[in-house]
Amino acid sequence: MAAKLQKPEELLKIDYNKPGNKDWMDTPVEFREGMFCWGAKGKDLKTLELPNARDWSPKEEDWKLPENWKDTILEALADRLSKYRSFRLFMDICVRCGACADKCHFFIGGGDPKNMPVLRAELMRSVYRKYHTTGGKIFGKTAGARELTLDVLKEWWYYFFQCTECRRCSVFCPYGIDTAEITMMGREFLNLLGLNTGWISGPVANCYMKGNHLGLEPHTIKSSIEFFLDDIETVTGIKIEPTFNRKGAEILFVTPSGDLFADPGTYTAMGYLMLFHELGLDYTWSTYASEGGNFGFFTSNEMAKRLNSKIYAEAKRLGVKWILGGECGHMWRVLSQYMDTWNGPADFLEVPKSPITGTVFDNAKSTKMVHVTEFTADLIKNGKLKLDPSRNDHLKVTYHDSCNTARGMGLLEEPRYVLKNVCNHFYEMPDNTIREQTFCCGSGTGLNASENMELRMRGGLPRANAVKHVRDQHGVNMLANICAIDRATLKASMEYWVPDVSVCGTHELVGNALVMKGEKERTQDLRMEPLPGKEGKE
């Protein structure tokens, strides 16, 4: 698109009173309430044996850093540059073409130039140049290099916790720079000084000690699920009896713990329970590998690996053949791209094969873990499910591609195939907001706290704007997705931007449409709301 040429009279209109724009390096970071999360708690850092465990607040001047903090960061920078070739490449290769600049949801919705992915990465590149390039060492600022100072460190913290590692910018980078990996590295460095957020380190500590982010103990997990079973019985008349920690089951099922507690994720969990019961699937839940999500991934490589290890360990302990995973976003980036090399090879497991259809999931040959929408899409394709999509006729559904499943593992068609089979009214959002180009919910990577609500609303705007469009065009009233964080955060985003649209997991709609053997006449959906045409019957 050619820039508009100014007319001579426009060029003459020079406003001498307008202050010049400062260079970004001369624009100090200003901590604004609503834009950042509270600091990590000392007790959680201690549990995780992370450095510099103490209570601290980003709002205070003094971050209680160790005296040698600068050496720690610079040594880590040198170490990671030698360890990861990709990191050095990403530091060196950017030509600042600007292709990524306007692709970040935080920049689009908020307008802070330091949220342009190129500039956010430049916060770190400038330090890299100062200490690792000849030009930077000699010419300093002229060569885009700067010293690592306390202000720079604080700027890193502020902006590396304003990136959801969604990787939309990377789709547009002609060099394929993965900006998410720069953020991941930034956070890893900050964690060496005890500079995590409470919203991340709390769940990580819980997960390390109890197996899941919420810190649910085995009896609580069991009783939560029993509560869903009561609801399912009310809606369908069918009593389901799932098993827990059962040795010798064919399949281990792992899902994010968020689905066990917060609505609307809970309805998605009910959908799984109903589907597996109807199939007579030989599967078990685990109260140990009770978390698919991995907030360690937002902390450091080492922490992510540590939390992930329980999945294969539990599969081995129980002696299952393969693993089925629930609807989650970053969980799948970890499982699909990291688990195998961190904690594999899982050679004690078999290549996943659906016991119902006989389909072998070759795509999961190495990890031995299958996404539940792949599993369900295969069931539908093979005609193994009796579905009544009219039970979702009160819903006009659109689908939000979660960043990690779409861009991280290319899971684009299966969820759509499932949705189109379980509901009659499905509408896509505009092309440049879905699939590989999907917009983030605005609150991923552990940014789904409450204290940073303004940040979340800014980041959520581009997605919400596309939802609003399909609401206006087609009357869409339900935003389906396959991510536990989406289910929690899009609800808030919709409440602000498009209040009449609800949020659901894909398997909630499967649960509604699934015709089960021996069920009573359904008058309610899983939310206990009357089905279309059945009002007053419940």
Binding site: N21, G110, K491
Partner: protein, 190 residues
């Protein structure tokens, strides 16, 4: 009605200048993007502002169709309420329309032909600004509601299990009763 005719005639110039002034409230890199990216899904803020000022100008000229809150104003203020603006800065662009109109119609206004109409227009713009303030406050209140609702959602199941939820609708109360009954049955059968 002379002034309104003139405003209608000069609509393009007024809106362009008004847009310039609004975009100047953003950093330079951002305002370039907001101005140049024309796809409304790639640039929801720029689109809301351009459509917003068009719609608002139309409402000023022809009056609003109802007493309801202007959707154009709501779209713009809802965005500015979560951006880097103080409350006054978030709504100030409305007042700036007065300045824009006086700049664009400098000659005509200096001939003093429209003083009555101009006062009426100023009053309409003031009303619009007050409406913007109402929207701004509602948006900020909404943010606090959302925070509270999130906490409620996270704890609802816990409270429900502990039977600590009160003020239920009749239907919900019935469901809880059934569940309690089931629990009691279970206890009895143990």
């Amino acid at each position: 009605m002379m002034l309104k005719n003139l405003l209608s005639e000069k609509r393009a110039a007024i809106l362009e200048r008004w847009l310039d002034i609004i975009l100047e409230s953003y950093p330079a890199d951002t305002s370039n993007f907001l101005r140049q990216q024309k796809n409304r899904f790639a640039n929801p803020v720029g689109a809301a502002i351009s459509q917003g000022i068009n719609g608002l100008f139309e409402e000023l000229l022809n009056g609003k169709s109802s007493d309801e809150i202007s959707p154009f104003l709501d779209n713009v203020i809802r965005i500015r309420a979560v951006q880097d603006f103080t409350p006054s800065k978030a709504v100030s662009f409305i007042f700036l329309l007065k300045k824009v109109i006086r700049e664009v119609l400098e000659k005509e206004i200096s001939e003093n032909r429209f003083s009555d109409e101009l006062s009426a227009l100023d009053a309409d713009i003031d009303n619009m600004a007050m409406e913007a303030f109402d929207i701004y406050v509602k948006c900020r209140e909404k943010l606090y509601d959302i925070k509270a609702n999130e906490v409620r959602r996270m704890t609802f199941r816990l409270l429900q299990r502990a039977n600590l939820i009160c003020e239920l609708s009749e239907q919900e109360q019935e469901l809880i009763d059934i569940k309690n009954l089931n629990v009691k049955r279970k206890e009895v059968t143990k």
